[in-house]
Symmetry: C2
Subunit: 239 residues, 2 copies
């Protein structure tokens, strides 16, 4: 039976199969080796995610084994500023951490052998957020998210991962290493361009490799074309 | 439990999660409504597909219900010319039809309620095939595939679909209605560009709609963001 990867997160996960998306790229990379299961919930924070977790995971595992890994990618909405227009998405930092612990505990209990990969919230480009929310460049407006808040939630996520001994992808820091990340990696100051998707994809692939989940180590499903001999094709199929 | 779509076919299915791919686009479209399962086998014809069918479908169905639909997209390799370099992929027309019947019968037996959607082989642009196979434009070379042969297999596929009362997508004809399809829809005279992927995606969406599988008719998984009221978010979660 093929191993499975489950992608659990907010809109950056839900949209990960749009053109150039990191979820689609994972499916493509492991096309003959693993199944990728999408469980993205746009707009959700960890409070709401925790509330729906058992229902969200219906059908996500196969009949047999636990998934090989699950990515848990929340925080972009938790980190929404509590005094701005999207305040209802905000979750306090301490609760964000305890929710991440509870989500991890749920997976640990339900799928004991599944690797839980935490992903921090991404960086925020505030001018693009103002344009996205208010449709204009108005210097009197405040963004509903800030890069500083996202960074604090990223640190909090890393702390939980360290505490629980889970692999973690610090996409907040990693993305800001790229030139012009504000517009090259982010499309609206929050969501990912194809280049931004590629940055996360590469990090997920590296993290999966670190837990032994790689193209090189996973068996391929059924004979590959180059293994089918032109002179005796049916031999590859045991005939 | 979410309904499932299973994509079964050759390289045009296996590569359908590359950037702009039709499989990824289906996953994106039904992100909150259905799971898309990839079972693409590059280079395979119907003879080999039939041989591995039970193993290929391991883990493709969920624990509970039959998949809502399966796309069966072979023929591009069956139609390889029997007197050219890829002759070992060739399957005679009559056998292609009987293999399609056998594949359909397998699904009908295993998943009685699953809609079986047949897809014809795509058109072929021969000059690009010569370049792809021989790496040059040599007028003495013959392509390993021809558009005429692909068309004959497309007709044969349609005949089987009609006989068995399955929906069918005639991508051979449809694609040739587009301007400059030879290079706008095909990247190497056989596989699809993003524009070619979009043509197939649109046809699959239309066909799924015809069997009642559509964004409008499928329930969405868990409360959508716009259904979560800013003044009382937890109400959407039954709290």
């Amino acid at each position: 039976m093929r191993p499975r990867l489950v992608l659990f997160g907010d809109s950056i996960t839900e949209q990960s199969f749009a053109s150039g998306g990191w979820g689609a790229a994972l499916t493509d990379r492991f096309a003959r080796q693993a199944d990728v299961v999408l469980r993205g919930l746009s707009g959700y924070n960890t409070r709401w995610a925790l509330k729906v977790l058992p229902r969200a995971m219906e059908g996500a595992a196969g009949a047999g084994a636990d998934p090989a890994a699950v990515t848990v990618f929340f925080g972009a909405n938790d980190a929404t500023l509590p005094d701005q227009v999207q305040a209802h998405q905000h979750v306090p930092l301490q609760e964000y951490q305890s929710n991440l612990r509870a989500i991890s505990a749920y997976f640990k209990e339900r799928w004991p052998s599944t690797a839980i990969i935490l992903i921090t919230p991404p960086p925020i480009y505030e001018p693009a957020r103002i344009r996205d929310v208010y449709g204009e460049d108005d210097p009197s407006r405040q963004p509903e998210r800030s890069n500083e808040a996202a960074g604090a939630y990223a640190q909090a996520c890393i702390a939980v991962a360290t505490e629980l001994n889970h692999p973690v992808i610090d996409i907040w820091t990693k993305m800001q290493e790229f030139p012009d990340w504000q517009t090259s990696a982010l499309s609206d100051g929050l969501h990912f361009t194809p280049a931004g998707n590629k940055i996360l994809f590469d990090e997920v692939v590296k993290t999966l490799e670190s837990i032994g989940f790689s193209q090189e180590r996973l068996p391929s499903d059924l004979p590959l074309f180059h293994e089918i001999h032109p002179k005796d094709p049916m031999k590859a199929f045991g005939a």
